[in-house]
């Protein structure tokens, strides 16, 4: 058990999820291990289909129909969530682990006021007398940065802007003082200027030092603002786990992480379109047809024969690690250029 280190909030060990599809059995989460400490914000980065959302949902034991979990442990505050029954899980979801979804407009009930929806949480999870519920909800709305919480309490979701709705979602997520907050692409639907404020708010969640944050995103600029550590997923596996300072500073270890970092225009750089972006060749392989060796090998500039036939080992270097035969650590090397 992870009790030896009480700074560890969550530890996932060798988690795999299998799903039966028409194309055959796939493993969208494959031997995933990572930990989140108290007061730590961990980012989970990956492209669509990499398994990042499913990994996030696994932490709430929310699996799609037809999924099985052949191996792994999800130790949350020392307790293996995979061994809990439905009733015990209900006590954990929302109360000790909560989730913020991508689109607040589809996660909120359009015919109930914000006040009613958040009050419901207190009524179903706590013994708080009704007279105090309203007060508590308004306090939560205020701590989520909503300027006029009394008015928001009485509003319906459609009366709020996108940014305000996402703040309401955050208020709901922190309502019961959970220890772990999972935010799945929380800023995708927002105006860029509003997104930055939401990121600052999320980032403040971990300041209590008791809470942890798992921030799922494909936007590295946002990840850079929020996270202490970065996990990169590719084709169901975690291929890199590095401190953010290292990832964005000296550069990541895994060639895929490096390619992701350099395939986006920097936003400050002096080079324009006369210099092609170092794009990654090809595309993510389908999960039902993975290559025998490293899943990234067919697109990797560093790959050799061994990468194409054997599963790469996990190699650590200080606080960083990567699933690669050739983890590399020069600052932004030169990946191939594609016209």
């Amino acid at each position: 058990m992870a009790e030896g280190d009480d700074r560890t909030l969550l530890e996932v060990r060798h988690l795999s999820v299998l799903i039966e599809t028409r194309e055959g059995m796939i493993r969208p989460v494959s031997d995933v291990s990572f930990a989140i400490g108290r007061g730590e914000a961990v980012a989970l980065v990956g492209e669509s289909g990499s398994g990042k959302t499913l990994t996030g949902l696994s932490l709430l034991c929310l699996f799609p129909p037809g999924a099985t979990v052949p191996s792994g442990e999800i130790l949350f505050e020392g307790q293996d969530l995979l061994r809990l029954d439905a009733a015990a899980l209900r006590m954990i979801r929302g109360q000790r682990i909560s989730m913020i979804f991508q689109e607040p407009q589809s996660a909120l009930n359009p015919v109930l006021t914000i006040g009613t929806q958040i009050s419901e949480l207190f009524k179903s999870h706590t013994d708080l007398p009704d007279s105090q519920v309203r007060e508590r909800v308004i306090e939560r709305l205020r701590s989520a940065g909503l300027p006029d919480p009394e008015r928001v309490f009485k509003s319906y979701p459609h009366q709020l802007s996108g940014g305000m709705r996402q703040r309401v979602m955050i208020a709901m997520a922190i309502a019961l003082d959970p220890h772990l907050v999972i935010a799945d692409e929380p800023t995708t639907a927002l105006d860029p200027t509003v997104a930055l404020q939401i990121l600052a708010l999320l980032s403040s969640i971990r300041e209590s030092r008791t809470k942890g944050l798992l921030f799922i995103s494909h936007d590295l600029a946002h990840v850079r603002r929020v996270s202490d550590r970065v996990l990169v997923m590719y084709a169901g596996r975690i291929v890199e786990d590095s401190p953010a300072s290292r990832f964005f500073g000296d550069g990541p270890l895994h060639p895929y992480s490096l390619a992701l970092l350099s395939s986006r225009p920097s936003g400050t750089g002096e080079t324009g379109r006369e210099t092609p972006l170092p794009a990654i060749l090809g595309q993510v392989p389908p999960l039902w047809n993975l290559p025998p060796g490293c899943a990234f090998a067919p697109r990797c500039p560093r790959a050799d024969d061994r990468c194409r036939t054997d599963q790469p080992p996990w190699q650590s270097e200080g606080a960083s690690g990567a699933l690669c035969f050739y983890p590399h650590h020069s600052p932004l090397g030169a990946p191939q250029h594609v016209a």
């Binding site: 992701l260 379109r273 170092p278 993510v284």
Partner: protein, 336 residues
């Protein structure tokens, strides 16, 4: 004007209003002004970036430029011709010269047509490759041009990845060798690594085929990388425009400053209903961290800095010596 200096595309005072439901039989009809007084130009071989949040009117402008939507007022001048006055055959004859790449490659391709038919259809419609053999050859070349192969001719859209489908959409758009491509968030639905490939394809089309591009995006770093000039929209109005680097490195309008991350202020969020900005005042007023008393009294002037080729709609720089009132309201000149 010599042909070289006249812009390929010019919009003059574009306005688009939409009727809102409600109002009843005798009630006053309500309208929503999605685009207000938008004037810009694109030179030959130039890339113009159009940036703004969702709902700022970017897509509506793109559709008016394509004449998929008629403007309520204003003109779209394409190579000297007022497109808003053309119809029927004369419009169709021009259509092959401006083409569109859509955001969602899943929704914009006919699932029952093969890639070859999708890309070959515009050639057939415009009679550019009458024989089957000729068309097949041309389509193969087009597919190769966008990074696919001749083997992909017989495949259906569902057999391609998102990036592959976007390449088909681009191949179709460039089939008739248009002078102008309008690309509406073409990489928003693509993965990071695939997006970079598509951006490179656009810059290559601009460089080798000299295609002009109206590139619509909410992503400033992509706009910065790709475009020569930029137009920043807020609630349907142009709040700032000019050469991309100049505008993004030293933005003047408070909204652009927030977007570019050079502002220390924080915008206030308003409730959609109650805080609706008045149509006769600055569209950004309700969220502006730097609003002056005058901003609550009158519409900001459209100002021009002729030296740097910039324009801004803001009270903050009014009276500043380098900013003069624009001769023609919010019209920026192309400088290819």
């Amino acid at each position: 004007m010599s042909p070289e200096s006249s812009p390929l595309l010019e919009t003059r005072g574009l306005v688009r209003e939409f009727d809102l439901p409600g109002g009843g039989l005798f009630g006053r009809r309500k309208t929503l002004t999605a685009v207000s007084d938008v004037s810009f130009s694109i030179g030959k071989g130039e890339i113009l970036g159009l940036v703004g949040e969702s709902g700022s009117g970017k897509t509506t402008i793109g559709r008016m430029v394509m004449r998929l939507l008629d403007p309520t007022r204003g003109q779209v001048i394409f190579d000297g011709l007022d497109l808003t006055r053309l119809s029927g055959r004369s419009l169709r004859r021009q259509r092959r010269r401006f083409q569109m790449v859509f955001q969602d490659p899943y929704a914009s391709l006919n699932p029952r047509m093969r890639a070859g038919e999708i890309v070959g259809e515009p050639l057939l419609i415009h009679g550019l490759a009458p024989s089957v053999r000729e068309r097949r050859e041309k389509v193969s070349r087009l597919l190769e041009r966008v990074g696919l192969s001749g083997h992909d001719l017989e495949r259906y859209p569902r057999e391609f990845s998102g990036g592959g489908r976007q390449r088909i959409g681009i191949a179709r758009a460039i089939a008739c060798q248009p002078d102008l491509l309008v690309a509406d968030e073409p990489i928003a639905s693509l993965d990071l690594s695939i997006g970079a490939q598509i951006i490179n394809l656009f810059s290559s089309l601009n460089k080798t085929e000299r295609m002009s591009l109206l590139f619509i995006s909410h992503d400033l770093s992509v706009i910065r990388y790709l475009s020569d000039r930029v137009v920043v929209l807020y609630r349907g109005r142009m709040v700032e425009s000019g050469p991309t680097r100049t505008v993004l490195d030293a933005p003047v309008h408070p909204y652009t400053r927030l977007l570019a991350g050079t502002s220390s202020g924080t915008p206030s969020e308003t409730q959609n209903g109650a805080g609706e900005p008045s149509a006769s005042l600055c569209p950004f007023l309700t969220r502006c961290p730097e609003a002056l008393p005058v901003c609550r009294e009158s519409m900001p002037p459209s100002l021009e800095n002729s030296e740097s080729g910039r324009q801004v709609l803001c009270h903050l720089v009014a009276g500043h010596s380098s900013w003069k009132s624009s001769a023609s309201p919010s019209l920026i000149q192309g400088s290819p």
